[in-house]
C-alpha cells in the first residue's frame, strides 16, 4: 500500500545499531524520481550509515527499504537465497560512489567501468566497451581509459568511480562524502560532474558537507543529528531560515569555510549521541 511508481527510494522506520551505539533511531525518507537529496549533519549523526543501509552494505536492524519496487522485508537478518537475490537486485539499481573511491586497482579506468555491465548485467563485451567509453567521455576522462587507478589523481579517480556507478544504469546514485578525501582544489571537478548528472535528471542521494553544492543543486536538504532527521526542506528555506538552533550553528560553522565541518562535528557542541539537547535553545 502507498507504493508510488515515481518513488525510487522509500525508507521507513529504519533502525541500526553497532553494539551498544544506536546509530539510526527510526528514519523515514522518501526520495522521488529525479530528485537530488543532500544529507548533511555532524559526523556520527548516521548519514553515512543511512545511505549504506539503502543498498545493504549495512544490514538495518529494523525498518523497511524499498528501491524501485524491490522491497526487502522489514527487519530480520536471515540470509535466505531469495533475500540475497533481492539485495543484489537493489544494488544494481542503487549505485554507490564511495568516499575513498574504491576503484579496482588491477583494472584500467575503462576496465573498472565495464566490470559491472559485463560480469553482473551480462552485457556483451563490445557493447560494454562502447558504454564505458561513452561514460568516461561524460566524466571528461576519455583519454584516461587505459590508465590504472594508481596513475590518476584523486579527482580523476572519483570521476571514474562515478562512471563505474553509472555503467550499471542505476535508478539512483548514492554518494558517500564524494569529495571528503580529496584535496580542496580537486573538489570542483567532482562537483561539476555531479552537477551535470543532476542536470540530466538523475536521482541522487548525496552525503556531503559541500554547502554550495547543496544550495545550488539539491531539491531538498536533510539534516541529521544523533540518528534522527532533525530538519528537512528545500535549500532556500533550509539555508535561509533553519528552524533548529542546532542546524543554524552547524551552518554558521560550515558555511564560513573557515572551519571544517568535521572539526565542528567532533567538538563538544556536537557530542555524538547526547540526548540532552533541547530544541530551540540558543547556541
Amino acid at each position: 500500500m502507498g507504493h508510488r511508481e515515481d518513488c525510487p527510494v522509500s525508507i521507513s522506520g529504519l533502525h541500526k545499531r553497532f553494539g551498544s551505539l544506536e546509530v539510526l533511531k527510526g528514519i523515514d525518507l522518501e526520495v522521488r524520481r529525479g530528485e537530488v537529496v543532500v544529507i548533511m549533519g555532524p559526523s556520527g549523526s548516521g548519514k553515512t550509515t543511512l545511505i549504506r543501509c539503502i543498498n545493504f552494505l549495512e544490514e538495518p536492524d529494523a525498518g523497511c527499504v524499498r528501491v524501485c519496487g524491490v522491497e526487502i522485508p522489514c527487519g530480520g537478518k536471515t540470509k535466505r537465497p531469495a533475500r540475497t537475490r533481492q539485495i543484489r537486485e537493489i544494488r544494481t539499481r542503487a549505485a554507490m560512489v564511495f568516499q575513498h573511491f574504491n576503484l579496482f586497482p588491477h583494472m584500467t579506468a575503462l576496465g573498472n567501468v565495464i566490470e559491472g555491465p559485463i560480469s553482473v548485467r551480462g552485457m556483451p563485451k563490445a557493447e560494454a566497451l562502447a558504454l564505458g567509453e561513452r561514460l568516461l567521455a561524460r566524466v571528461g576522462l576519455a583519454d584516461k581509459r587505459d590508465q590504472y587507478p594508481s596513475r590518476l589523481s584523486g579527482g580523476q579517480k572519483q570521476r571514474v568511480a562515478i562512471a563505474r556507478a553509472l555503467a550499471m544504469e542505476p535508478e539512483v546514485v548514492l554518494f558517500d562524502e564524494p569529495t571528503s578525501s580529496l584535496d580542496p582544489e580537486l573538489h570542483e571537478e567532482v562537483l561539476q560532474t555531479m552537477r551535470a548528472l543532476a542536470g540530466d535528471g538523475m536521482t541522487m542521494i548525496v552525503v556531503t558537507h559541500e554547502v554550495r553544492f547543496a544550495y545550488d543543486v539539491a531539491d531538498r536538504v536533510v539534516f541529521m543529528a544523533g540518528g534522527v532527521i532533525l530538519e528537512e526542506g528545500p535549500p532556500a528555506e533550509f539555508f535561509g531560515n533553519p528552524r533548529h538552533a542546532r542546524v543554524r550553528s552547524f551552518l554558521r560553522l560550515v558555511d564560513g569555510g573557515e572551519v571544517d565541518a568535521d572539526t565542528v562535528a567532533n567538538g563538544a557542541l556536537w557530542a555524538v549521541g547526547s540526548a540532552g539537547f533541547s530544541e530551540g535553545s540558543p547556541v
Binding site: N55, L57, T84, R88, E89, R91, T92, A95, M96, F98, H100, N102, L103, F104, P105, H106, M107, T108, E115, G116, S119, V120, Y148, P149, S150, R164, M168
Partner: protein, 217 residues
C-alpha cells in the same frame, strides 16, 4: 674431481630421477594449492564448524614433521587396509603438508584486500563468488605470490624425503649410486646442484610473475 665415468653412468638415472622430483613437486603444489584455497576460504568465510576444522588441520600439519606425516601415510594407513604405492603416498603427504602452509599464505593475501574493494564489488551487485574471483583474488594473489613462491621452493626440497618411502627421485638415486660406488660426495654434490638449479629457476619465475602483477601499481 668428478670422474667422467661416474657421470656417464649416473646420467640416465639422474634424468629419470629429476623428472620424478619435478613431478612430485608440481603435482603436490597443485593439489596443495587447491587444498590451501579451500581451507583458507573455510577459515575466512565458513561457519564455526568449518572454521574449527580448518584451524585444526593447519595446526596439526604445520606442527608435526613432514617425515612423520609421510611415514603415517605409507606405513600407517595399511593398518586401515589402505595400501598406497610409494608415489601416491608421497604426493598425498606432500600435498597435505604444503596445503596447510599455502592455506595460511592465501588467507593472509585475502585479508590484505581492502574492505572497500569488497564493498565496491558488492555495490555493483556481484554475488560473493564473483566478487572474490574478479576483485579480491587478483589483489590477494599479488600479495600472496612471494610466500607462495617460497613454499613451492620448500616443497621441491621436501620431495627428497620421498626417498624414505622408496620413491626413486633425485635423493634416492644419489644414495643408491653412492652406495654402490662409494662416491657419496660426488653424487650428493651433483644432486644438491640440481636442486639448486631448479629452485633458482623457480625464483626467477616468481620474480617475473611479481613484476607482471605489479604492472598496475
Amino acid at each position: 674431481m668428478i670422474a667422467v665415468d661416474l657421470l656417464t653412468r649416473a646420467f640416465p638415472l639422474l634424468v629419470d630421477a629429476l623428472a620424478m622430483t619435478i613431478f612430485l613437486g608440481v603435482t603436490s603444489f597443485l593439489i596443495g594449492s587447491a587444498i590451501g584455497m579451500v581451507v583458507a576460504l573455510a577459515r575466512l568465510f565458513g561457519g564455526p564448524v568449518l572454521r574449527a576444522v580448518a584451524v585444526t588441520y593447519v595446526s596439526i600439519l604445520r606442527g608435526t614433521p613432514l617425515l612423520i606425516q609421510l611415514l603415517l601415510v605409507y606405513f600407517g594407513l595399511p593398518q586401515f587396509g589402505i595400501l598406497l604405492r610409494p608415489v601416491p603416498a608421497a604426493i598425498i603427504a606432500l600435498s597435505l603438508h604444503a596445503g596447510a602452509y599455502l592455506a595460511e599464505n592465501f588467507r593472509a593475501g585475502i585479508l590484505a584486500v581492502d574492505k572497500g574493494q569488497w564493498e565496491a564489488a558488492y555495490s555493483l551487485g556481484m554475488p560473493f563468488a564473483k566478487a572474490f574471483r574478479r576483485v579480491a583474488f587478483p589483489q590477494a594473489a599479488r600479495v600472496a605470490i612471494p610466500p607462495v613462491g617460497s613454499r613451492f621452493i620448500a616443497l621441491i626440497k621436501d620431495t627428497s624425503l620421498a626417498s624414505v618411502v622408496t620413491v626413486v627421485e633425485l635423493t634416492a638415486v644419489a644414495e643408491s649410486i653412492g652406495s654402490s660406488t662409494f662416491r657419496y660426495l660426488e653424487m650428493f654434490a651433483i644432486v644438491a646442484m640440481i636442486y639448486w638449479v631448479i629452485n633458482s629457476l623457480l625464483s626467477l619465475g616468481q620474480e617475473v610473475l611479481e613484476r607482471r602483477l605489479a604492472r598496475a601499481y
